[in-house]
Symmetry: C2
Subunit: 443 residues, 2 copies
Amino acid sequence: MKKQHADLLILNGIVLTMDKRHRVIESGGIAIINSKIAELGEVGAIKEKYSSEIVIDAEGKLVMPGLINAHTHAPMSIFRGFADDLPLDRWLYDHIFPLEAEFINSETVATGTRLAIAEMIRSGTTTFNDMYYYSCKMAEIVDKTGIRAFLSGALLDNPQHNGNTAEEVLEYTEKLIVKWKEHPRVNIGVAVHAPYSASPWLYRAGKDLADKYGVQLHTHLSETSWEVDIIYNKYGLRPVEHLEKTGVLGKNMVAAHGIHLNENEIRLLAKNDVGIAHNPQCNMKLANGTAPVTELLNKGIRVGLGTDGAASNNDLDLFDEMRSAALAHKLATGNPAVMDARSVLECATSGGARLLGIDDKTGSLEAGKQADIIIVDLGKPHAWPLYNLYSLIVYSLKASDVESVIVDGRLLMENQRLLTIDEKSLYREVKELSTRITKAHPH
Amino acid sequence: MKKQHADLLILNGIVLTMDKRHRVIESGGIAIINSKIAELGEVGAIKEKYSSEIVIDAEGKLVMPGLINAHTHAPMSIFRGFADDLPLDRWLYDHIFPLEAEFINSETVATGTRLAIAEMIRSGTTTFNDMYYYSCKMAEIVDKTGIRAFLSGALLDNPQHNGNTAEEVLEYTEKLIVKWKEHPRVNIGVAVHAPYSASPWLYRAGKDLADKYGVQLHTHLSETSWEVDIIYNKYGLRPVEHLEKTGVLGKNMVAAHGIHLNENEIRLLAKNDVGIAHNPQCNMKLANGTAPVTELLNKGIRVGLGTDGAASNNDLDLFDEMRSAALAHKLATGNPAVMDARSVLECATSGGARLLGIDDKTGSLEAGKQADIIIVDLGKPHAWPLYNLYSLIVYSLKASDVESVIVDGRLLMENQRLLTIDEKSLYREVKELSTRITKAHPH
């Protein structure tokens, strides 16, 4: 029998599918054709049916879905470690906003985005959901580097980038949505920054635009008690209630944080099918609290896992973030059984895909889905022994164990070598920029 | 002028000393002679004065003190991931104690210890403080692998290892102390397991033995609210009060955990100069709470950072542990300024050395101290840019960035290759053992 041609074969690995049946194939094979998983199964069956010039031998390695970063600000990686150990309001208003006003432009966004994508690919992330400025530039870089992304330029009442007025930024966003509409990996959405920085009018305008094109409405929500106070004082309502009254809650909303939520707000989120991007490390670092994730999940609310920006984390490492998620919720609830390893991994894979509305496309390894796959080395001492795969991934494995990364069937990293980013020239750029920043703002 | 001969020179790196003045040398040099740091300073001066056949060029890399793991159970690495997402009492009594009764012996301890030391060296740990069984075997492995360790076999009222009665275990311990007394890196101490598993008589016997030889008295203390209840019901006192009444608190005591402490107990710890080994990840994972570390430090109590065993963490990675320490205390206190990056790094280096009473010997890079040094790569995207070294180390760097490790002037890892452990044969041993365990206790 003539074998079918595959663009890429991955053979002999332990295949963790994260599908609904939680299937694990001890010695599996995956055939990739036209950017998709054509078939996966026992390695013998795959080898018999398919042939390819490109074969990855994953013997003794773990083959699993790429991770999904549900909330980040990729370009902020250029501010990593600039201002730490500070409360959110001082961090934001005394350091980050002034730095952004001075240094953020199309070129620096390009540098920061490349740096962030290099880090994300190296740590096994295949999709990220971003809110920042100059999405026009970011889209080009996502296109070139091969990662999958949702990009949205933040709308604020007083914008500093992408336009001089909120109306101009809305116009900028609409043009960008239209421009990239057909791209297989670049997804432009609408972002309204936060209830304390955007008026109800702006939220409604953002919502209308997102609905018009069927794209994501990305926002920050209920991150600090300070935000709850401000919104309550201004509108007589808590943040989620305020956005419900504004009429912008809905299935296309991805709300980052969702920490300070009362029972009624959780009910409103569930009723309106709003999704939450949970960022445990940033929430801990800024001492903002712990989102009630186990309650959100129990209410059927979609929850993804994000790193937030590298300026407040200070990395874009979802392995680290999974571990923190598992630990933080056990501590916060006093119950070591909550957020077990498998549930946490779901948030970072299939759950993240459901959050972003791409679970038909990615988030698990299944025939017909796009081939967003990572191959993970199990050869370091911290990976021994192996009793339970989910435990191993969440509690022991590290970003540095990720060996190869595939998005849409294309290899972006092979044996820890990035194939779409020139790291040397990238670091020269970062160094030049950080030297300028340090000169202007000495530590 | 004739140059002085050095056994090893480390040149051109960013030298972070962690000395009392927090000196950082942007382009530094270190000369190592007879296992000690003979001199460190500007690279030009060192190069002028010393020559060596062995020169490590650390250009663009970070040179810093090796990390100190203040509390672990190294051999338990063979149980890594066996039983997760469970409360401490069920984890310990339903899984760990039965597994230990069935599988722990001199050979399995050897395997687990080698696995743990491989992981610790790879993650930049140069000293660890251990409590387990078969310290006789562990001592041999520590001797061979070149790491620095404090080893103590746990005393319990009903011992399962090292002897049939507590008296026999005391005798075993004393022999071991005498045997290894002169070794430069193997330090045998006395461990009394915990107030709920050891009688006041046993605590006093352990204390007498430790005092007789001037060695450490290692114990678990105030780890769970369950422990506090048991001790209160039995003795009418809280755990620290109970140990004070027993007469065993003192400068040579290293107490692991110290979570559930009231004001009087903190006062007693400070008054008696007891040191605390803080294990944030294990404490979160088992939902035991957050130790009041900022208060302990404010009271002048010595605090080191530990991972606890890999069966409850599930790794021995102090980089990860530093990050969790910084984040957990910000969250617990609601104050993002506490446990700033430098304070956390102190716990893992100079503070750990003070805890173990070896701050005259290690914990910082200073002339005259033993050469316990790690060289860390700064070439991965998560290490860019560099604004603040302490922030970078605690919030961004990873165990996998550690490139070379030196203990007592001897290279134990060079460019990520372990020089004193054969990993391949180690993994074969671990695989054989974990297969036996899995067969006896299928998941």
